[in-house]
């Protein structure tokens, strides 16, 4: 599938502010199953500095400094990309079991395995909670491989947790999500990661988008899409396999990948800090438009 992607973030402040500093992870990754043909990031008012670098996960990160006094700031990422089917569903049965995984992790220290080891421990947004462990333990079966376990977890979260955009914010702790059994995609991804790490399986957080299809016969609504998040599990031979617990599916042609890290805090699409206090309003509009190939 070929897509045009527009992600616009707009901040309005009650008072004029000078000097806002921002970090953005808004550039889609170049991947075997995702070719980015074009990508641009525009900032208004014009930034006095915009510096691009590759972070320790290989994501593209931008440092943005907007100096002149302004009451409104908008950051827009535009890209055209091609996403290919991953056919991961067919690979699930080939995966190793926990013992095989642990043996691999003990014996190998190549760069890919090191990346996975970094995603085996608690991180800022993802504590390893006993309640998360209690959630995954009953799912573990003899003879089951790690991707089957991940799939079972994907399904469990989908069926037992309620999708509720009113419930959580970007800083709602995982314990709240667990206690009330509700949340959004980001919460579900981080919950799944906590569960997997509790039993020693490396899992990472993926930030991106999902193509939404309008009901039959109705036009696509502009700006109706949103950021999306899911998780990926490390399998020694297959690499990272992505699961989407919000929709109980494997991430595939409809999933556009921006960046990944240990948790949301590593790859916040856009975060900032400004001098001067006061209220601000945030609005985000995302469009994932399928293009005719």
């Amino acid at each position: 599938m070929k897509y045009q992607l527009i992600h616009q973030t707009e901040y309005r402040y009650a008072q004029t502010v000078a000097n806002s500093y921002n970090l953005a992870w808004l550039t889609p990754r170049q991947l075997p199953y995702q070719q980015v043909e074009h990508c641009s990031l525009s900032v208004n008012p014009a930034p006095s500095l915009i510096q691009q670098r590759s972070d320790s996960f290989g994501n593209t990160q931008h440092f943005i400094h907007v100096q002149p006094p302004h009451k409104q700031l908008s950051v827009t990422s535009r890209s055209t990309l091609q996403v290919r089917p991953r056919h991961n569903i067919l690979k699930i049965r080939d995966a190793t079991d926990c013992n095989g995984l642990f043996a691999h992790l003990r014996q190998h220290t190549d760069a890919t395995t090191l990346d996975s080891l970094l995603c085996q421990h608690a991180s800022r947004m993802i504590p390893l909670l006993p309640a998360a462990k209690a959630l995954i333990m009953p799912l573990m079966q003899p003879g089951q491989n790690i991707l089957q376990l991940a799939q079972a977890l994907n399904q469990l979260i989908f069926t037992e947790f309620q999708y509720d955009p009113e419930f959580s914010t970007v800083v709602t702790p995982l314990s709240e999500v667990l206690a009330h059994k509700r949340g959004v995609c980001q919460d579900f991804a981080q919950l799944a990661i906590s569960c997997l790490r509790c039993v020693g399986i490396p899992a990472r957080y993926v930030s991106g988008y999902l193509e939404t299809r309008p009901p039959e016969g109705q036009p696509r609504l502009v700006g109706a899409d949103a950021s999306h998040a899911w998780f990926a599990v490390f399998e020694p031979t297959l690499g990272w396999i992505d699961f989407d617990p919000t929709n109980n599916i494997l991430a595939d042609e409809q999933h556009l990948t921006l960046a990944w890290g240990r948790d949301y805090a590593d790859v916040v699409p856009l975060k900032g800090i400004l001098h001067g206090n006061g209220e601000h309003q945030l609005s985000v509009a995302v469009d994932v438009v399928p293009l005719a190939e």
């Binding site: 000097n19 972070d55 090191l114 699409p269 001098h275």
Partner: protein, 826 residues
């Protein structure tokens, strides 16, 4: 001299026997009467207070400096120096690798879990430094191991405390014990500090025009802060807080009264995670853009964030392998035996030999001295470890050597000691680094050898006994470089670089000092009234007017509201209650907070007076009784006298620059404001009694002036003229406003716009002067000299304008105080 040597322990003196310097020292020592040694000892402690890194009268445990130095022979030092230099090179190489190619992990020299579990491994710091010198400064803690060899047991890169102390100790020795000091040939320290200065001056790029460097400190007023202030002063670099800094054009800039000045290096004394609220811990106190400016090679940070990984102790078990792997050399300086609990056999070893081990948790930085635990606690702890053994390191506690220490009586007793050795690493040629080790160290001694080896910083803030460490030299060094270096430094100080935050503190210092002064004067007047009137009703009533002024003086309430007169005892209780936010103690606390925040701007004498002032107020009875005013009066006299001394000292010692101007502005603004409020309290209600009017004149130190002019008769109108309008009276409102006008004219210009000829501050000061000039006193009093409502309105108007002036100064010059807000999107 005989010092009892503890069985089996090594004694440093064994290494000193053949040193001529030791024989010389001992000869001198033995000839001193005990009394002389005691006297020298206390002089040395006094010198420390004078040098002023320990100011905190509430603090019971303060640092003591031992009269007997720690000697290290030249040959021993050469070995130690080579070992420290190699260790510094090694740790530098380790940071390069772990935040870069990670060969140490890929080649299994260090288990990845040790690093990835560690809260001090900061991903945003990956590939932060692209030059060879990642770790410019290191402080290594060294003790003696069971073989009697020096052995490193801890590395300090994040907030290496003690650099200022070493300097201070040597200065104290130089000033106190000339005869003890001058005879012994030893290495001087100044060269090392000059190297540090050069390093900071050079920054990242040698072609920078401005050579501005800063020491980044925290907000707490603790022992560490005073060390920072002392060090910044000595190195002639600005003492800065995160709020003083701003990122622009890839650089960090210092916000000063004369605009933004680019900083090219920072001696960083903030924890790693607090350095950059954008990229590291949100809401922390550092500066957004700090990491970015390092990354863009525009800022030399000593040390860059991320280095605390070394301090965590996580690498201790692997250091000798790292050395072989990275430097292809064996470790020169032995490192403390340490075990990683993630390895089953090492865990078993730690469990069996637990008595002399210390266990550290890499996630929480908690640690336990295993010998101190009961068997039950020990069992519980090992169970906790079993949950996640990879997150624990066990480090052996060294047996440590004993060395002679002088006690308060001048007698020598053996105590265990450790050294903290400082070193600098610089890039000499491209890719080539070189280490300079300070020929001296911070020595610490204690009867309890385990406490000395705690790796947390609690040991430093709690106070300890220090030793000056003398690295002996065979070549005589005629002059102390320390003094001459200090002199040079003072000459180069630029007064134009006053950080906005400092101006803010000075302004409020001026205000609080004046506020305290006026309250104490009014209190004194009130109590005198009670004393003289034998507690008559009218005397009590007059005292209540003055007390109502005192109660209002520190409240933010608008003075326009009418309030009923307070009762005597409730008013005194309120003023002296330590928990009352508007009481005298609260003012004193604010005064001290502001003074301590700009500590480096005051001379020692000012601190001495502030210290006295503090103890005077804290000696105040918990519930002062108004019926017995005499004792209270004596205390108030003392307080007022001490405060007068502060004014005098500051006028004498502070340079005539913007520094003094902001304090002066604060003082006179406050005096004008409070005088209006006082006149309001005395005149605006019923006509004041003669006794009250006399008290007012006495309070304002103008009784004599009044008597010269009007003899003995007390006219409200005449008093009002003297205290409000007469600009030759130093306590009149008019005098204050004229002074405010002069000072606002000299404030630094903020606008380059030529069309703006007057600043807002100047306009407000002119407005004040104009209001006062237009006053016709006759119209504010009736024929019986009763005040008319117009007087109250006028005083209120003056106070409003003064408030606007204060706000305006704050807005124009101190706007750093902007809170910053943060967001995250999804």
């Amino acid at each position: 001299m005989s010092v009892s040597v503890m069985p089996q322990s090594i004694h440093e003196q064994q290494h000193w026997q053949d040193l001529p310097q030791w024989r010389q020292l001992l000869y001198w020592w033995q000839r001193q009467p005990a009394q002389r040694l005691q006297q020298l000892y206390s002089e040395l402690q006094h010198q420390l207070r004078e040098n002023g890194t320990t100011f905190d009268p509430w603090h019971q445990q303060q640092r003591q400096l031992d009269l007997m130095p720690w000697l290290i022979s030249e040959t021993q030092w050469q070995q130690l120096e080579a070992g420290i230099a190699q260790r510094h090179q090694l740790l530098n190489a380790i940071l390069h690798d772990l935040y870069g190619p990670q060969q140490l992990l890929q080649q299994q020299v260090i288990p990845p879990d040790v690093i990835f579990l560690n809260k001090d491994y900061l991903l945003p710091c990956a590939n932060l430094i692209d030059t060879a010198a990642w770790l410019p400064m290191l402080a290594t803690d060294v003790g003696r191991n069971s073989d009697g060899q020096f052995c490193a047991y801890s590395d300090n890169t994040q907030l290496p405390a003690g650099l200022g102390y070493v300097l201070e100790h040597r200065l104290a020795f130089n000033n106190t014990t000339t005869e003890l000091n001058s005879g012994v040939k030893k290495s001087q320290l100044a060269g090392f500090f000059r190297q540090l200065q050069q390093l900071l001056q050079q920054g990242c790029q040698s072609d920078n025009e401005h050579k501005l460097a800063g020491l980044l400190t925290h907000h707490k007023r603790d022992a560490a802060y005073f060390e920072h202030a002392f060090l910044a002063n000595y190195l002639d670099i600005a003492l800065v807080h995160g709020a003083d800094l701003m990122f622009k054009d890839s650089k960090l800039w210092l916000k000063t009264l004369s605009g933004l000045q680019p900083l090219q290096s920072l001696l960083r004394y903030l924890p790693d995670n607090s350095c950059d609220p954008l990229e590291l811990e949100p809401g922390s106190s550092g500066s957004a853009g700090l990491l970015q400016s390092i990354r863009q090679n525009q800022l030399l940070c000593v040390n860059p964030p991320g280095s605390a990984l070394l301090d965590s102790g996580a690498l201790l078990p692997f250091l000798s392998h790292c050395c072989e792997f990275l430097l292809q050399q064996p470790l020169l300086l032995p490192t403390v035996p340490a075990l990683w609990c993630g390895n089953a056999s090492q865990l078993a070893q730690a469990q069996t030999s637990s008595s002399d081990y210390c266990l550290q948790h890499l996630l929480s930085a908690q640690h336990w001295q295993l010998a101190d635990l009961t068997p039950a606690e020990l069992t519980a702890l090992w169970q906790q470890v079993a949950q996640q053994p990879a997150a624990y390191i066990a480090r052996q506690l060294l047996p440590l050597s004993q060395l002679p220490c002088c006690d308060k009586k001048g007698e020598l007793q053996p105590q265990a000691g450790v050294l903290r050795i400082f070193s600098l690493l610089t890039e000499r040629d491209v890719g080539q680094t070189e280490v300079a080790v300070m020929p001296g160290a911070l020595g610490r001694v204690s009867t309890h050898s385990h406490t000395l080896q705690r790796s947390d910083r609690a040991g430093f803030s709690a106070g300890f006994t220090a030793k000056d460490v003398w690295v002996l030299a065979n070549k005589a060094q005629a002059v102390s470089l320390l003094q001459s270096a200090k002199h040079q430094v003072t000459l180069s100080r630029q007064s134009g670089l006053l950080p906005s935050r400092v101006a803010d503190h000075l302004f409020w210092l001026g205000r609080y000092n004046e506020r305290l002064n006026l309250i104490c004067r009014a209190l004194r007047a009130a109590l005198t009234l009670l004393n003289n009137s034998d507690n008559s009703d009218s005397g009590q009533q007059d005292a209540r007017y003055l007390l109502s002024f005192c109660l209002r003086a520190n409240s933010s309430m608008d003075d326009g509201t009418e309030q009923s007169l307070p009762g005597l005892q409730p008013a005194l209780d309120k003023l002296f209650s330590a928990d009352n936010a508007t009481g005298v103690v609260a003012i004193l606390k604010n005064l001290l907070y502001n003074a301590q925040s700009v500590r480096e701007y005051f001379g020692e004498d000012t601190w001495y007076v502030l210290d006295k002032l503090q103890s005077a107020i804290y000696q105040w009875p918990a519930r002062p009784q108004w019926q017995q005013p005499a004792a209270l009066l004596r205390t108030l006299d003392e307080i007022v006298l001490l405060q007068t001394a502060i004014y005098g000292l500051n006028n004498e010692t502070m340079s005539r620059t913007q520094t003094l101007r902001f304090m002066d502005l604060g003082q006179h603004l406050e005096r004008a404001q409070q005088s209006c409020s006082l006149l309001q309290a005395v005149f605006a209600n019923t006509p004041p009694t003669d006794a009250l009017m006399e008290a007012l004149l006495r309070l304002a130190d103008t009784l004599m002036t009044y008597r010269r002019r009007y003899h003995t008769e007390l006219h409200p109108l005449a008093i009002m003229d003297l205290l409000l309008l007469d600009d030759s009276t130093p306590r009149s409102v008019s005098y204050q406003c004229a002074r405010l006008l002069r000072q606002t004219e000299k404030l630094p210009a903020l606008h380059n716009d030529a069309s703006v000829s007057l600043s807002r501050e100047q306009r407000l000061a002119m407005e004040l002067v104009a209001i006062l000039q237009q006053i016709d006193l006759q119209q504010l009093f009736d024929a019986q000299q009763h005040a008319l409502p117009g007087l109250s309105l006028l005083l209120h108007q003056l106070q409003q304008t003064l408030r606007q002036l204060s706000d305006s100064v704050t807005l124009s010059y101190f706007n750093h105080a902007d809170l910053s807000s943060q967001w995250q999107s999804f």
